[in-house]
Subunit: 182 residues, 2 copies
Amino acid sequence: MRDATLAELALHGYAGLTVENVAERSGVHKTTVYRRWGGVDGLVVDALDLAGEDSWRPPDTGSLEGDLRGLADEVRATFADAEAGAAPSAFVAAAFHSERAAAALHAFFRDRHARSAVIVERAERRGEVPAGTDAGAVVRATTAPLYFRLFITGEPMDGGTVAQAVGAAVAAARAGVFAAGG
Amino acid sequence: MRDATLAELALHGYAGLTVENVAERSGVHKTTVYRRWGGVDGLVVDALDLAGEDSWRPPDTGSLEGDLRGLADEVRATFADAEAGAAPSAFVAAAFHSERAAAALHAFFRDRHARSAVIVERAERRGEVPAGTDAGAVVRATTAPLYFRLFITGEPMDGGTVAQAVGAAVAAARAGVFAAGG
């Protein structure tokens, strides 16, 4: 059912998602879909929850800059690919219309940020950033400018955009902006 | 008509916006609204275009940090106020559903970033940042973490969030991350 939902999201976006289409694609009767998933929101939430169960791990390149670069490149590559970017884009759109989808989207990012914290912990052990640096803040500073362009300003992204976002996060982290009392 | 559209957006959001409601609120017959504005998208685009015609100017506090802090505080204050934040939130949502609304939203941010460039030009003249610093990049670095929380991760914002975003943008700008060849 998750695959069917993701495929339909990729094709039609959240606004075009219907229980009928997901049911038809999955071969499950639509009354069963309504009974078990409740409707479109339930399908989206179920598909998004899957994201937190995957085996994703952040890059481990040996440097803070390399690791953040890997994270940012992943975001850029996902949304540069129309097929790969369709489902995540649909989830962001769904969050505007459904409290359940919003809660699932927010949980997805909490999970991703928590898993990414190790990047900053390693950097701290290597002495690249001050002790007590807020890992989530460093990760958010890296990816926020990319999501801002994707979903708010609609500005294009290129390698220079990614390098600037990574460079800014690294410079701020080194300067202690994200450290306790920084 | 713009006031009526903004009031209806604030009340019902983009998903609940109807030509009928805007027509009734404005006292204009709905056939006239359809003829002149084409429908919901046209009303939204018209209301958004207004934003580019206002007299908004960025803060001028005498320091880069103070000016960026003023910008960031304005974003935070707008969205912390349910009434003030309703229309801009609805515009972001509308951009997911309408090419015209997306184009108007993107034009709004281009205009705001262009008007904000003077902040960085003044900082350059004061010697606070290297020559050739990309003004738009500094402004985006300041506000992107706030919009990321508001519209993507759903995380709360407080004074600390704002201070961190401003501090990171200033540190990166001073380090030359946003300068030509930086």
